[in-house]
């Protein structure tokens, strides 16, 4: 009897754990079942590298959108990664304790702002700024990159900071005892030691940027063409689904699921990469 009482919670927890895994399985299967037929029909190469997207005319090429996702994410990384890493070093090493108490919750708050609010703010503030100062329609790669850079900051800052704080105390103490200055210690001891955590932070930030939809739908302009400058509008894989799902039916809908498959694979690769880097044994 008491044995049963011991075991029952285990079974209940396992059942609940299984249900979350099965949700993943269900979604994966659903996306693949709905998206695979159109990839098979169009041909994988023509689908992924096709330059024309006109579902109502039977043209399903998503290359401009893959390029759009890559460019916007790259832009976000160029802006967001240096800022994020510097901020995490500041928090871990330089910030006086009271300031730390303000910064940390503030960054958490940044993560809590709904993405639609970022998009709305971008549309009303960043887009007109770019249009008036730099030209073009304002809806652009640049606008999307700026918004996403802000959105990935919390991910990058918190994970890098944790990996800096988690370093064994004797790394820093030993380095200082050997006569290195504080900055030399950070640069040549702590940063290399925390490298895997920082790289994982960047990859997870990038994963977040690639998957973001709502905020960028509002500021990217969604044109399905290869851009010529960072002031041109583009469409990403996520916004393609977001903007067209309302009206899609038949093959058009399948093609949007197929877009989801491509996105799914990209994000899976990024996550596995991050996992591999963090779990690799430090040399």
């Amino acid at each position: 009897m008491s044995k049963l009482r011991e075991k029952t919670p285990g079974f209940i927890f396992m059942a609940l754990a299984l249900s979350s895994i099965s949700a993943l399985a269900l979604i994966t299967v659903f996306i693949i079942v709905n998206g695979a037929p159109i990839i098979a029909k169009v041909g994988f190469i023509d689908f992924v590298f096709g330059m024309t997207w006109a579902p109502s005319e039977g043209e399903f090429g998503i290359f401009p959108m893959i390029l759009g996702s890559v460019l916007v994410t790259l832009g976000a990384a160029i802006i967001g990664v240096p800022v994020g890493i510097c901020c995490s070093i500041f928090l871990a090493e330089f910030a006086p304790v009271p300031l730390r108490g303000i910064f940390r919750p503030a960054i958490q708050l940044l993560a809590g702002i709904p993405s639609v609010v970022y998009g709305f703010w971008g549309l009303l503030f960043i887009v007109p700024l770019i249009r008036d100062r730099l030209g073009g329609p304002g809806l652009s790669i640049l606008a999307g990159a700026i918004i996403l850079a802000i959105m990935i900051l919390p991910t990058i800052i918190s994970i890098s900071e944790v990996s800096l704080i988690a370093l064994p105390r004797h790394y820093k103490e030993g380095s200082l005892a050997l006569g290195l200055t504080h900055w030399q210690t950070i640069r040549s001891v702590m940063m290399p030691a925390a490298k895997s955590g920082i790289v994982a932070a960047v990859i997870l930030g990038i994963g977040r940027a690639i998957g973001e939809t709502m905020a960028v739908i509002m500021v990217l302009g969604n044109a399905v063409a290869v851009p010529e400058s960072i002031l041109d509008p583009v469409r990403t894989l996520t916004t393609n689904i977001g903007i067209e799902m309302g009206y899609a039916s038949g093959e058009h809908q399948q093609a949007l699921f197929a877009t989801g498959i491509v996105l799914f694979v990209i994000i899976m690769i990024l996550n596995l990469l991050a996992q591999y880097i963090t779990t690799r044994r430090p040399r």
Binding site: T52, P137, N222, A223, R235, E244, G246, Y247, H252
Partner: protein, 241 residues
């Protein structure tokens, strides 16, 4: 009792007003209006998910066999920012702008600035009506900015002095910041010109049902087509025969 109406987001606001007036008279009947777009409206009517589908374009091949009731006509307005000096374009010029054979306002007599072309997304009824009516031998350029609602197109044109877009005529004057509807071939985009047929950028607003409507569905449709229903549509800026 419940009537489910789903489909075109262009027809949706008008259907909501009609439903509200109808439910005031028959409080025991609920009319449930949902969006989704013209294609979704056709599918919903076919599969029976909705009693009535709404569409803002002629039926396509997949939708043949549905029972069609035209409730009104809507004008399609070509809009620009009020700061744009251009007031009139020919249909040919609009087509050239959207296919980007013309990409600067100066070649149309306007400012020396690049034209920011704004279109709707593939699958939208407004887009397919525009393509049918304007883009006879050409395609909308892939470089065109794409927005997913009449409202978003209107907002962008109101903000950007070099933008051009197309929206439902009834929505031109709705909104805080003004946009300017262009005359086409010298004919002003007004309600009266749509009625008298001189402004011919128009499209049908239709209800579709799976088979000949019956019961409360028929009753609601009859209400929409009644003098009272037509008066409401007319007052909202649509064109009824």
């Amino acid at each position: 009792m419940r009537i489910i109406v789903a489909g075109s987001t262009s027809v949706q606001p008008y259907a909501e007003i009609l439903a509200e007036a109808y439910c005031d008279m028959y409080p025991e009947i609920a009319v449930d209006i949902q969006g989704g777009g013209s294609s979704a409206g056709g599918t919903a009517a076919q599969t029976g998910t909705a009693d009535i589908g709404m569409s803002s374009r002629a039926l396509n091949q997949q939708e043949e066999g549905l029972y069609v009731i035209e409730i009104a006509k809507d004008g399609l307005a070509i809009i620009v920012n009020p700061a744009n000096p251009i007031n009139n374009l020919t249909l040919e010029q609009v087509s050239a702008i959207y296919s980007q054979r013309i990409d600067n306002w100066s070649s149309l007599g306007g400012n020396n600035a690049k034209i920011h072309v704004i279109a709707r997304e593939d699958g939208s009824g407004t887009r397919s009506a525009f393509v049918d009516l304007v883009m006879h031998n050409s395609k909308i350029s892939p470089r065109a900015i794409v927005q997913d609602s009449n409202g978003a197109v209107r907002q962008l044109v109101a903000d950007d002095p070099n933008a051009i877009g197309f929206i439902s005529l009834g929505l031109v004057d709705i909104g805080e910041r003004p946009v300017k509807a262009l005359s086409l071939d010298g004919v002003a985009a007004t309600h009266d010109n749509v009625v008298n047929g001189s402004y011919n950028l128009t499209r049908p607003f239709i209800f579709v049902t799976k088979s000949e409507p019956r019961g409360i569905t028929l009753d609601f449709i009859n209400y929409v087509l009644s003098d009272e229903g037509r008066r409401i549509l007319l007052a909202e800026g649509l064109v009824v025969d």
